[in-house]
């Protein structure tokens, strides 16, 4: 038992609740939220190191022993993602001060933002499949509010689609969970894993796993990404960044969790399917990114491509590939947040998302320009920046497991990703200057500090890979050997 595991969930939740009482006092809400998120970052960091020192930490809620009660489990993967989430949440929260506008701030923007962070962190920390569904709902309902708050016409149009798609996939999620409960009689992930290992993964269970893959595939934008490019471009930039960084990643986390812990007995069916879905996602994602001239659309398609890359690391199902996937996952969360925040700054200056109408921004905004450049090449994976190590390990894993074709697709897509983001840089920042100082629609006051913070973290993630590696190695160990997870959750002594 370790109550520390619940603290990163409770802090943003409490802060969100308290903010509701101060709805009229925007400055107070900002303070409450910032302090809470800084607290969450510190606690998550402490939790990460405790997991590193003492192994997996669990908390049996209400003192009910698993598999009967609900457990929260912080293994290395969960702890890493919790820390990343809280850091990105903090940066986007501060970015929101100058960019969301007073109307939204007066109408529950900050409380809902904090509830979203609560839901994401809780999804990472739960050890129970039904509870995972509940946490998904917490974050989804918050995201419904964030996507529609403000009520502009495109927002309402896109939020309608977004909500419908997610409600349908949530319904499938419950159906899948119900089937799984009917077959196995448990929803505790460790217990599920043990029981399925005992009776063998029968054909029905494999079908169920693919059913759940469809659900998480919609949430993670793995192949089923049709809803993403439209809906991610309508909310304000701080919300875009938090969506891009966190929401699809929760789906990816769920896929990683269930296909390493629960359904890992038939890799020739499930993981092969994952590999091809990943390949298609990468290809279609980069095609979308290359074809577009709209900054937000290019970045949105880049989210899709990155999902493919991470899932391919999982699908190769080797320790190297998984390490790569985790490295790349955290890198991608940070870098997507940065890119969307920087794009938000670009758009607030130029007042357009069309690249053809931008140009020469670097003359007046050199810091913005160079930060975008660093983020762009980090995304593409130029050494020594953060994308490189993850991609290298994923490629290595792909070659080890003889997925030559898909590895080739990955390399090709990386090249096209580089092209698509450099296109933004060259057309947006270089070239003929289209706007003089006076013609600019907005300024970047207060927007660059959070971006710089995230860029620094991204650089550290690449340059400091040597220090980070032991953490990733430990996370991978738990993923490749489910018995470690099972023993800590169910308290089985050797």
């Amino acid at each position: 038992m370790n109550n520390l595991v619940i603290i990163p969930i409770i802090i943003p939740l409490l802060a969100g609740i308290i903010s509701i009482f101060f709805l009229k006092h925007i400055v107070w809400q900002r303070w409450i939220g910032s302090v809470a998120l800084i607290g969450t970052v510190l606690v998550s960091f402490y939790l990460l190191n405790q997991v590193y020192a003492n192994g997996i930490q669990t908390l049996e809620l209400g003192g009910w022993a698993p598999p009967f009660g609900i457990v929260l489990v912080a293994d290395m993967l969960s702890a890493l993602l919790t820390l990343t989430t809280s850091v990105i949440g903090l940066a986007c929260f501060i970015y929101a001060f100058k960019s969301v506008g007073e109307g939204r701030e007066r109408h529950f923007f900050y409380p809902v933002f904090l509830f979203l962070i609560t839901g994401v962190i809780a999804s990472f920390l739960t050890g129970d499949l039904f509870n995972l569904f509940v946490c998904f709902e917490v974050l989804l309902i918050s995201s419904y509010v964030l996507i529609s708050i403000g009520g502009t016409k495109p927002q309402l149009r896109e939020s309608m689609k977004y909500i419908l798609v997610n409600i349908v996939s949530s319904a499938f999620f419950v159906i899948g969970v119900a089937f799984l409960y009917a077959v196995t009689g448990t929803l505790n992930m460790a217990d599920l894993s043990q029981r399925i290992a005992d009776v063998g993964q029968t054909g029905f269970l494999t079908v169920l796993s693919i059913f759940l893959l469809i659900v998480f595939g919609i949430k993670a934008a793995l192949f089923l990404y049709f809803w993403l490019p439209g809906s991610y471009r309508v909310p304000p930039p701080a919300v875009q960044a938090i969506f891009a960084a966190l929401l699809t990643k929760v789906g990816i986390y769920a896929i990683i969790r269930i296909f390493t812990l629960i359904f890992y007995h038939q890799p020739d069916i499930t993981h092969q399917l994952l590999a091809w879905l990943a390949a298609l996602t990468m290809l279609l994602g980069v095609i979308g990114a290359v074809a577009s001239w709209d900054v937000l659309r290019i970045l949105a398609y880049n989210i899709v491509a990155a999902v493919g890359i991470v899932i391919f690391g999982l699908a190769s199902f080797s320790a190297t590939g998984l390490e790569g996937a985790l490295f790349y996952l955290v890198h991608d969360m940070v870098i997507k947040a940065v890119l969307f925040l920087l794009a938000g700054a670009m758009i607030s200056i130029t007042g357009t998302t069309n690249l053809r109408k931008m140009g020469g921004l670097i003359v007046h905004h050199p810091i913005l320009g160079w930060m975008f450049f660093i983020a762009a090449i980090a995304l593409a994976g130029i050494p020594p920046l953060s994308g490189f190590i993850g991609k290298l390990l994923i490629i290595q894993g792909g070659i080890e497991t003889e997925h030559y074709w898909i590895t080739g697709i990955l390399l090709l897509s990386s090249l096209l990703i580089l092209y698509s983001v450099i296109k933004i840089f060259m057309n947006g920042f270089w070239g003929e200057q289209k706007l003089s100082r006076d013609e600019e629609k907005g300024n970047t006051k207060g927007l660059l500090a959070p971006c710089a913070f995230l860029v620094a973290i991204s650089i550290f993630w690449g340059v400091g890979a040597e220090w980070i590696y032991p953490y990733i190695e430990m996370a991978t160990q738990t993923l490749t050997d489910p018995s470690i997870y099972i023993q800590s959750v169910l308290n089985i002594k050797e």
């Binding site: 038992m1 619940i6 409770i10 409490l14 509701i20 049996e60 003192g63």
Partner: protein, 143 residues
């Protein structure tokens, strides 16, 4: 056109109090037999909504000057705090306890901390349900 709502208003005054009492009964019954904060909250909501239907919004806002959104937040705060209370005694989050006490009039009674949590649920459910119904009913452009 003004509808004649004398009968509705007169009965609503009586019935809503019966429903309110029933809601509170269900709330306390929920500790050992079916019932509890969630269903108690919904029953209370139905009493309030009946009053809102019988009388108009302005009158009701004068009679019950409560911001139901704040009520929801208060409920959440109570529920989370009772969970956190367990941390003070070094128990897992949400652990609850109970005991038997001699109360002045009632005699020996069972008091449980889970009831405090349930009060939070009660307030949250009532707050959310009333807010939802009022938000739908509030829009004046549809007259």
């Amino acid at each position: 056109m003004r509808i004649n709502d004398v009968i509705l208003q007169t009965t609503a005054k009586v019935i809503s109090f019966i429903i309110l009492t029933f809601g509170i009964y269900i709330f306390f019954a929920g500790h050992h037999i079916p019932g509890g904060g969630f269903i108690g909250g919904l029953i209370t909501t139905s009493a309030l909504v009946l009053l809102y239907v019988a009388f108009d919004m302005e009158t009701m806002n004068k009679v019950i000057p409560i911001d139901f959104k704040k009520m929801t937040a208060l409920g959440l705060l109570i529920a989370v705090s009772t969970g956190l209370g367990a941390l003070l005694f070094d128990q897992p989050f949400l652990t609850h306890t109970f005991g038997y006490f001699d109360l002045p009039i009632l005699g020996e009674a069972e008091l449980a901390t889970a009831v405090l949590f349930d009060i939070g649920v009660f307030l949250t459910v009532t707050g959310v349900a009333v807010t939802i119904i009022l938000t739908i009913g509030e829009d004046e452009k549809w007259k």
